[in-house]
């Protein structure tokens, strides 16, 4: 008897749960689950976006990207970009955050903070266009400065060997402010008592940084690294506006490759196959992120 009663209230709770969660669940299904399933399904077909006939080709699209040298290069580029971007951004963000955190000049701090953060809120397209001008090899501002200092001109985006690093620098400039804020937030959670103890022992500043500050904020750093990696795996706007993947595919990245195949070459099947590869890679990274936050992030 008792058992039955409980199950009735359980049922009611369940129903309430379903009713209240359904709007979110439906949207999730329509905008996330369905596209993912369709992506996988579409990657098995040939035919353009607008053609009425689609032909089932099995794993041919996957074979195509697997043997496509451009795709290998694109994957490599994406990984190189991610490593360079995340590495540079995190190192810079930590240095700036520690400096801002330690400095006692309130006004200067606020100004620096504002300056560093501002690029983050500017649209990526405008940033790209401005940097396109600044980095112009012959008439651009950067090379004007370099030549006036008696240095050689730097080719920036016009040479396959320097285009990627130029792109990374623009993106680091744009997003470092955001990561500075995250690191600063983490720094403020480090208890002052530990620093006081270190001060009593006369510990050098550098040693304090490596032995206390860094370990204390490491969970946040790891977490932001993974988030930044996932974001940079999907870089598109800057590539589309500044380099169109060139010169010679030196800045061609995964999402730009997908875009080109879907909309320019009229071959969305291949684009979807590449999209599935991206999905798998991002899933792996997300998994790592969950692992990291479960095991390493501890709240006080």
């Amino acid at each position: 008897m008792k058992k039955k009663e409980r199950s009735a209230s359980e049922k009611r709770d369940r129903l309430l749960g379903i009713v209240t969660a359904s709007p979110a669940a439906i949207l999730l299904c329509v905008f996330t689950v369905y596209p993912v399933i369709y992506l996988i399904y579409r990657s098995l077909f040939s035919g353009s976006l607008i053609s009425t006939e689609k032909e089932f080709v099995g794993i041919d699209n996957y074979k195509e990207i697997l043997f496509d040298e451009t795709f290998h290069k694109v994957l490599m580029n994406t990984i190189i970009y991610t490593v360079l971007f995340v590495g540079l951004t995190m190192v810079l963000a930590i240095i700036i955050a520690v400096w801002l955190n330690g400095s006692r000049q309130k006004k200067l701090n606020n100004m620096v903070e504002a300056c560093i953060f501002t690029p983050h809120v500017i649209s990526m397209v405008s940033v790209s266009i401005v940097f396109l001008w600044l980095m112009e090899p012959d008439t651009g501002f950067f090379n004007m400065v370099l030549t006036s200092l008696g240095l050689d001109k730097f080719p920036f985006l016009s040479s396959p060997s320097t285009a990627m690093i130029s792109l990374v620098l623009v993106m680091v400039w744009k997003s470092v402010g955001y990561y500075v804020l995250l690191v600063m937030a983490a720094l403020q959670t480090v208890p002052v008592s530990i620093y006081e103890a270190a001060e009593l022992d006369n510990t050098p500043k550098i040693r304090t940084f490596f032995k206390i500050t860094l370990p204390m904020i490491s969970p946040t750093i790891l977490f932001t690294c993974v988030v930044a990696s996932i974001a940079s795996f999907r870089i598109f706007d800057a590539v589309n506006v500044m380099t169109q993947g060139g010169p010679v595919d030196s800045t061609n990245t995964l999402v730009y490759y997908i875009y080109a195949y879907a909309f320019r070459y009229g071959n969305p099947g291949v684009a979807c196959a590449a999209g599935v590869v991206l999905l798998v890679l991002v899933c792996i990274m997300t998994y790592v992120q969950f692992g990291v936050s479960r095991n390493k992030v501890h709240y006080q």
């Binding site: 979110a24 353009s48 607008i50 009425t52 090899p137 012959d138 008439t139 169109q244 993947g245 009229g266």
Partner: protein, 426 residues
């Protein structure tokens, strides 16, 4: 705790849905009837700035010229952007009736049966197609069907700085590759480059065609320049870059063309290759006299067609299509063709244009236009198969690799183009 989160989610979602409803109740974008009973059709174009204003003026003039049809002109960004949006619109069933699309994208749309065959209107009205310039009308056919009318058409030309030419004692623009090299050498001094050209497939293809090649071979199994006509332009550019007489503008695609025009306007390059459609813009921005010459040739004279056509998209009612046809005729008639050519620098698309006083006056004021019109006859027949977009990218890619990277010879580059394009046909 869980409940609160859930509640928050539900609130957020319902807000989201509300806002969704707000924007969803807008009017049907592709076609409708206006309040006064006129048929409303949409027209997508890719013209910005002053060209965009002019195309709007012409559309307004059409709307005022009659009271049955109302055309709504919408700017959709660059050719590439517009083509992307069109594909999305077509798969959603929201395509406009008429659109201006880059000629190279013709194959993609025609191949999937998305374009209306205009021949039925031509037959019904005995519409005179022969008046269109022959070199331009070629790019309006796909599989024998007339699916476009020529509109904003252009061809690659050589612009030169007449002041710098006079200083160097050169009278006429170079006619041949050897003259191009010699002139560039004479013009290069004091930080001025003799010649500049984007490492872009269009200019490469022009030079390649002038050396006797064709984009595809006869069987359409690969490229038609896997010989000296393909390697020639690359050797020409390499030699000139090594000699310091050629500048390579930075950037890709349209960016590099803009960079190229900037250094020409600044006086740091004496000759550049650009689209004929840039004539008016260059004449306005340059504070020296601009001259126009044909792309120098090796053995032949032929150019890849450029610019865009007006196309009609399928999936609309007969009424709407008929309205679209009226608009197409209006935009491409002799009078408007001259207005368009005069205001933009695009080619006059009809032979009858050249007989009109308005056109004669135009040429008298700007003899450069005559040079451009004289070259229309050399526009080569176009093969805009769906593989064309990828072919273009492959060509551009290999050219850049050959020029920018060491140890990659023109022979290797052209062979690689041949292999990669052949793969597209498998």
């Amino acid at each position: 705790m869980k409940r609160k989160v859930l509640l928050g989610l539900v609130t957020a979602m319902s807000l989201f849905m509300l806002s969704g409803c707000g924007s969803g109740s807008g009017e049907d974008s592709s076609s409708a009837e206006t309040a006064d009973g006129r048929i409303e059709i949409e027209f997508w174009h890719c013209m910005g700035a002053s060209n965009g204003e002019l195309i709007q003026e012409l559309t307004d003039a059409f709307n005022e010229s009659q009271d049955e049809i109302y055309v709504k002109a919408v700017h959709q960004g660059s050719y590439t952007e517009a083509s992307t949006k069109m594909q999305a619109a077509l798969s959603a069933g929201e395509a406009p009736v008429v659109a201006q699309m880059e000629i190279g994208s013709l194959g993609v749309f025609a191949d999937s049966g998305q374009l209306v065959d205009l021949q039925k209107y031509v037959d019904a009205e005995e519409f005179d197609l022969d008046d269109f310039m022959p070199g331009l009308l070629d790019a309006s056919y796909y599989d024998g069907k007339l699916i476009a009318l020529p509109h904003s058409r252009s061809l690659p030309v050589l612009y030169y700085n007449k002041d710098l030419f006079a200083q160097a004692g050169i009278e006429n623009p170079p006619e041949t590759w050897d003259e191009l090299k010699a002139d560039a050498e004479a013009l290069t001094k004091d930080g001025v480059y003799g010649y500049s050209c984007p490492l872009d497939q269009w200019y490469y293809t022009s030079l390649m065609m002038n050396a006797g090649g064709t984009i595809y071979n006869e069987d359409e199994t690969s490229i038609g320049f896997n010989d000296e006509s393909g390697t020639g332009p690359l050797y020409l550019w390499k030699d000139m870059i090594d000699a310091g007489t050629m500048n390579v503008p930075s950037g890709q695609d349209y960016n590099s063309s803009e960079a190229c025009r900037n250094i020409f306007a600044a006086g740091t390059a004496a000759m550049i290759m650009q689209s004929s459609a840039q004539l008016k813009g260059l004449e306005e921005t340059c504070d020296f006299e601009v001259g126009v010459g044909a792309i120098p040739m090796l053995t032949d004279r032929a150019y890849p067609a450029g610019g865009s056509n007006l196309m009609m998209f399928a999936g609309h009612s007969e009424e709407e299509e008929a309205a679209g046809w009226e608009f197409l005729k209006f935009m491409t008639n002799t009078e408007n063709s001259i207005t368009w050519a005069n205001g933009t620098g695009y080619l006059p698309v009809r032979q009858s244009c050249t007989e009109q006083d308005a056109y004669k006056q135009m040429v008298e004021e700007d003899p450069n236009l005559q040079v451009i019109t004289d070259n229309v006859q050399y526009c080569a027949e176009a093969t805009f198969i769906p593989e064309y977009a990828e072919t273009k990218d492959i060509i551009a890619n290999e050219i850049q690799k050959c020029i920018l990277e060491d140890n990659y010879t023109p022979e290797q580059a052209v062979q690689s183009m041949a292999d990669r394009v052949a793969e597209l046909f498998q």
